[in-house]
């Protein structure tokens, strides 16, 4: 486990956010399914060679956004999506990222409808692979 997390220290993205994003991505892609266990804080800290507080902080944020849930004594698990809370900060960050993609698209000479079509196409492909890959390691 945990091989799917790759951090870059000294990047402009704080390490705890890198972990939050990568765990989130793994869950979105269905590589981690509901009920799957995340590595223990100390184990992941050892593997990534980072301060355990950094991992703990990432897990706390993941828990606050409702992606994972912590059961005292037994660990951290991927939560049921039905129970996830609305994460306004996360949604605002997503909007910012979309803006930068739009800028790139326009600079490449694409029209609005091209960008929309491309986004729709990628989204459909993503959902398909996600359903295919679901529970592969569950």
């Amino acid at each position: 486990m945990a091989l799917w997390i790759q951090i870059t220290p000294g990047s402009d993205e704080p390490i705890y956010l890198q972990i939050v994003e990568q765990v989130g991505e793994t869950i979105a892609k269905g590589q981690l399914a509901v009920g799957d266990k995340l590595p223990a804080v100390r184990k992941l800290a050892s593997e990534l060679v980072i301060n355990p507080n950094t991992v703990a902080r990432a897990y706390t944020i993941l828990e606050q956004t409702g992606l994972v849930t912590t059961k005292t004594g037994s660990g951290t698990f991927v939560a049921n999506p039905a129970l996830r809370s609305k994460d306004t900060v996360g949604i605002n960050m997503l909007a910012d990222r979309m803006d930068s993609l739009i800028v790139r698209g326009l600079n490449l000479g694409l029209e609005s409808q091209d960008i929309i079509a491309m986004f729709k196409d990628r989204l459909e492909k993503f959902i398909k692979t996600r359903q295919g890959g679901r529970r592969k390691n569950g």
């Binding site: 220290p9 704080p14 050892s46 060679v49 301060n51």
Partner: protein, 318 residues
């Protein structure tokens, strides 16, 4: 148990008429990992030597584990691990000789040490030596710089120190050995209540293992806060003006600014995003951008010797 494992009050050292360390006030709580950063000649080594009682301060005082630095008892010293810059070891000794020499200062077995006493963990020492691919009979003078640093780390960690002070421990080490060194530090952090203060020029390493950052600049402490507080506080912003730029810049937290043509670049400390937006509106800014920076960029901007610099130090609110 002392709440703070390291405390300094007005700690000062003059070399001639020049202060190398200038009225340092510092409190390091138990269990934290502090990255001690500053440019060459900022006074890091002098500060460390003062705190360990190797140098006499011109003014002020400091305490380690609740005991005055100038009067550290052997019992207190046993609980402090110190790795000097450059990893100086007896060149004619073998690794086995050094282990014998160092362990003689401690209880032979960790288990036989009473509460609050330090004991030599021989198993930990030899496990580390084996992990580093070294052996008992090797002579120090035949080792590479990296291997000497590894022996030094094993000697420093074997007594299981409560407080570990390391002066630029990864200086001159290659990337792989540096990583092993950091792994050793992480393992130590996992032990409850262990506190580490280490200086380094590699901000990426500080980002990895530390939870606090202490910035020393020309002998003065300019920041002592969590890494996250530092990362959130230091901001670089680029403003683009449609027409004329204001003559003077008056914004809370301004550290320094650079002007070029229709652009104005500012380094701000602790200025809220809303304040930046407000200022931009009032100054007639056409557009502006808060530039994402890594810890190293932020450190360089923060200690840059250009423009107006306001000494700045703040304690964590908690």
């Amino acid at each position: 148990m002392a709440e703070y494992v390291l405390e300094a009050q007005g700690l000062t050292k003059f070399y001639g008429s020049k202060p190398a360390v200038d009225h340092i006030d510092l409190k390091i709580p138990r269990g934290c990992v502090c990255g001690f950063v500053g440019r060459n000649g900022a006074g890091k080594t002098t500060a460390i030597k003062l705190m360990l009682g190797f140098l006499k301060p011109t003014a002020g005082s400091s305490r380690l584990l609740g005991c005055d630095s100038q009067n550290l008892t052997p019992a207190i010293r046993q609980r402090i691990g110190y790795a000097a810059e450059g990893h100086h070891l007896f060149r004619d000794a073998t690794i086995g000789n050094l282990a014998g020499f160092h362990s003689a200062f401690f209880h032979k077995q960790l288990a036989s040490a009473k509460q609050g006493e330090a004991g030599w963990d021989g198993k930990l020492f030899w496990d580390m030596i084996e992990y580093f691919g070294l052996s008992k009979k090797q002579k120090i003078k035949k080792l590479s710089n990296g291997q000497r640093a590894q022996v030094s780390l094993a000697l420093t960690l074997a007594p299981n120190p409560e407080l570990l002070i390391m002066d630029d421990p990864t200086l001159g080490l290659d990337a792989a050995i540096r990583r092993q060194f950091l792994e050793g530090m992480i393992e130590l952090i996992m032990h409850q209540g262990r506190t580490i203060l280490f200086s380094s020029h590699i901000l990426g390493d500080i980002d990895r293992v530390a939870d606090r950052i202490i910035v020393l600049d020309k002998g003065v402490i300019r920041a002592n806060c969590t890494i996250e507080q530092f990362r959130t506080a230091v901001k670089k912003v680029r403003f683009v003006f449609g027409q004329s730029m204001p003559e003077t810049v008056d914004i809370e937290g301004l550290l320094h600014s650079r002007r070029a043509d229709k652009e104005l670049e500012m380094v701000l400390v602790g200025t809220a995003d809303e304040k930046i937006a407000e200022w931009a509106k009032s100054a007639g800014v056409e557009e502006y951008q808060i530039i994402k920076q890594n810890l190293e960029d932020q450190f360089i901007e923060y200690t840059a010797p250009i423009g107006q610099i306001r000494p700045f130090a703040w304690e964590a609110k908690q």
